[in-house]
């Protein structure tokens, strides 16, 4: 079979190294998550207790089910805490290594900025900036390729959503110049 001999290979030069030091262990994160959930349960539980968690003549009041859900959540979180503290003796598994965290932040921070930009520049311009910037700075792809791709992408999105499917997206000053 000659055609299956051709290989597809994609390199990932800035891949996270496998020996990168750990930032936190899974157990630490678990404990934090359970504590947050516990706080969440207390907060919502209090709100539901305030709005009435009793049993009226015709059945439960509006806070009844959510209140007991909060009790369940608090219970499960406490149980989770107990389990997490119980496994102290075992070898801790890594939650995320430093390299991995760096890569995750490489996506998360631009995404956050994109959401911010979207409010002033509108979705299409913000997406142009995001795609081009990400390809250039994270992917290290040539400028012309990045710009061309992002422009085409933003254009296709605009035509698909705004023109063809009538889905209204936030727009900024640049779209206004073209009268859309």
């Amino acid at each position: 079979m000659p055609e299956s001999e051709t290989e597809i290979a994609v390199a990932d030069p800035n891949a996270p190294a496998s020996d990168s030091p750990a930032v936190t262990t899974t157990r630490t994160v678990e404990v934090i998550v359970y504590l947050v959930l516990l706080g969440f349960a207390l907060l919502l539980g209090y709100d539901n207790w305030r709005s009435g968690m009793g049993w009226a003549k015709d059945g439960p009041q509006s806070g009844y089910l959510p209140f007991y859900l909060c009790v369940l959540l608090a219970g499960a979180s406490l149980f989770g805490l107990a389990v997490a503290f119980g496994q102290r003796t075992r070898e801790a598994t890594t939650f995320v290594t430093r390299d991995q965290l760096r890569r995750v932040m490489q996506v998360f921070v631009p995404t956050f900025l994109f959401c911010l930009l979207m409010q002033w520049l509108g979705l299409y311009v913000a997406s142009l900036v995001l795609v081009a910037g990400f390809m250039r700075f994270v992917g290290r792809i040539a400028w012309w390729k990045s710009l061309l791709t992002s422009f085409l992408f933003a254009l296709i999105m605009f035509v698909t959503f705004d023109v063809a499917f009538d889905v209204i997206m936030p727009k900024g000053p640049i779209e206004a110049l073209f009268g859309r």
């Binding site: 299956s4 899974t26 998550v33 009435g52 989770g80 995750v104 996506v107 994109f114 979705l123 959503f161």
Partner: protein, 503 residues
């Protein structure tokens, strides 16, 4: 044979240029979604959902379900050629699929995977065609107590039968139910858990949460991994296809067994991943030569793929008949139904015949067209993987943002999506399952309504859930499943048979 007539009617609904075109677009997008790293069935459907907001419901569901079929087909491509399972349920396909590709039999493996997926979903669709209308017409007699009992059964079976630690499943489900309750209380009109914050009045939108949990968090997770890949390019020739098809009838037992397992696990909530492993393990166990599995045996591709597709498809059965999704993707489709203004549940079969039968007919047609499409275009889609992830990731982010914004035209939802992205990332890494959350968020309100309506009807008497044979047995079954792990310990011996074979 009323079902057949209605099915023919469904085909008649489908055969318009517009729907056929949307179907092709859906399939192509779906295969893309399945092939791309960091995207899979549920994410793809969730992200592409906003495309359908302005369509009529039938066109919309046909397109969305075709995205789903496409994603299922696409997942097999990367599993076999690159040893990268696009989805948890295609992990089992890599066991024998990748060795086959290494031996230069990639085309055979791909043909086997596509064909067996096709057979699996065909069996499941047949089941839906003939079983779903009956269940729906039976469920028409359900009152609020019965519906609450069915919801309870769904939730309890997730906790009792799920593979994750029980408290983690419980947390995921309870958080989902709580978030579903945020906003206006539908029975008394009181505000709950909004803390005077206006955007929360509408509540937490299900689709926004899903786009964050499955779209954004999946990109974060994908970035963590080494994205380099190496694999085989393959084209499928007609000769290979015919050769595999000629071999196929020999494995009819495996195909049938896997289809049955898939259908069963698909209907019970949370079983899609288990299905492919169980299909594989059982094929291995009953094989005359179990040692040859994992070394590139074609049966090892047939078994998990058939089961995975059968379960993926049959997960739509409870969604159509009862309004209860059997899988994450089915839950998203259910969310779609609500956006298009349909009320999921047994009444769908009475009030929206065009919609239901159009969807069922599209399952037949979509799978046939999908099979032909993947068999002919594999090289193109495999080449998609050459596109660097640095170009794909931001595009996925933009699509997610469009999806989240479009649902309610609210910027708040975009931020919520980002928050759910982080939550999904952390939850996945510490092993809190997301499927129960999804299910609870989409069913939460209706579940609470059912409970409170039955309480109002019964004057606050909890015994209403055991007031007749039907509701009583469903409620009892729910509690049995909830405590199944405890009960199961008693039947330890029977359980041992289903456990995975040590490899």
């Amino acid at each position: 044979m009323e079902a057949l007539n209605l099915l023919l009617h469904g085909f008649a609904v489908l055969l318009t240029w517009k729907i056929m075109m949307m179907m092709m677009i859906g399939l192509v997008l779906g295969i893309f979604v399945g092939v791309l790293p960091g995207l899979g069935g549920p994410n793809g459907v969730a992200i592409l959902l906003p495309l359908t907001f302005t369509m009529d419901p039938t066109t919309a569901i046909v397109m969305l379900s075709c995205i789903y079929w496409g994603a299922l087909f696409g997942g097999a491509i990367t599993s076999i050629l690159f040893n990268i399972p696009g989805e948890a349920w295609s992990v089992a396909t890599t066991f024998d699929g990748y060795p086959m590709a290494q031996q230069g039999k990639a085309a055979e493996a791909l043909t086997a995977a596509f064909t067996s997926s096709f057979i699996g979903s065909l069996v499941a669709v047949l089941l839906i065609t003939f079983l779903a209308p009956r269940i729906a017409s039976f469920a028409l007699k359900f009152g609020p107590p019965e519906f609450f009992a069915v919801y309870l059964l769904t939730f309890c079976s997730f906790v009792g039968l799920g593979r994750e630690a029980k408290h983690k499943t419980l947390i995921s489900m309870v958080v989902g139910l709580l978030l579903a309750a945020v906003g206006m209380d539908t029975v008394s009109g009181q505000l709950r858990m909004t803390f005077g914050f206006d955007p929360l009045l509408r509540g937490v939108n299900f689709l926004v949460a899903v786009i964050g949990l499955f779209g954004i968090s999946e990109i974060l997770l994908t970035m963590e991994e080494r994205l380099a890949l190496r694999g085989h390019a393959a084209a499928i020739s007609l000769r290979v296809v015919l050769k595999v098809w000629k071999e196929m009838p020999r494995y009819w037992v495996t195909l049938l067994r896997s289809s049955a397992i898939g259908c069963w696990l698909g209907i019970t909530p949370g079983g899609a991943i288990a299905a492919s492993f169980m299909g594989y393990n059982l094929a291995k166990r009953f094989s005359k030569d179990p040692g040859s599995f994992g070394k590139g045996r074609i049966e090892g591709v047939f078994a998990p793929e058939t089961a995975a597709h059968a379960s993926g498809t049959s997960a739509l059965l409870p969604m159509l008949a009862l309004g209860i999704p059997g899988s994450g993707t089915a839950a998203i489709l259910l969310g779609g139904l609500m956006v298009w203004g349909l009320n999921p549940g047994p009444l769908l079969f009475v009030e929206h015949k065009d919609f239901v039968w159009g969807l069922i007919a599209s399952m037949y047609l979509g799978n046939v067209v999908g099979l032909v499409l993947v068999l002919t275009t594999v090289p193109i889609f495999a080449a998609v993987l050459r596109v660097p992830f640095a170009a794909i990731a931001p595009m996925i982010v933009v699509s997610c943002a469009i999806g989240a914004f479009a649902i309610q035209n609210a910027m708040f939802d975009v931020w919520l999506m980002l928050l759910f992205g982080v939550v999904g990332y952390v939850f996945k890494k510490i092993g809190i399952p997301l499927a129960p959350f999804t299910l609870a968020l989409v069913l939460g309100n209706r579940c609470e309504d059912a409970f409170r309506l039955s309480m109002i009807g019964a004057g606050g008497d909890l015994r209403v859930f055991w007031s007749n044979g039907l509701v009583g047995s469903i409620t009892t079954l729910a509690f049995t499943l909830l405590f199944w792990p405890l009960i199961g310990r008693i039947f330890e011996g029977a359980g041992r048979l289903l456990r995975p074979v040590k490899t």
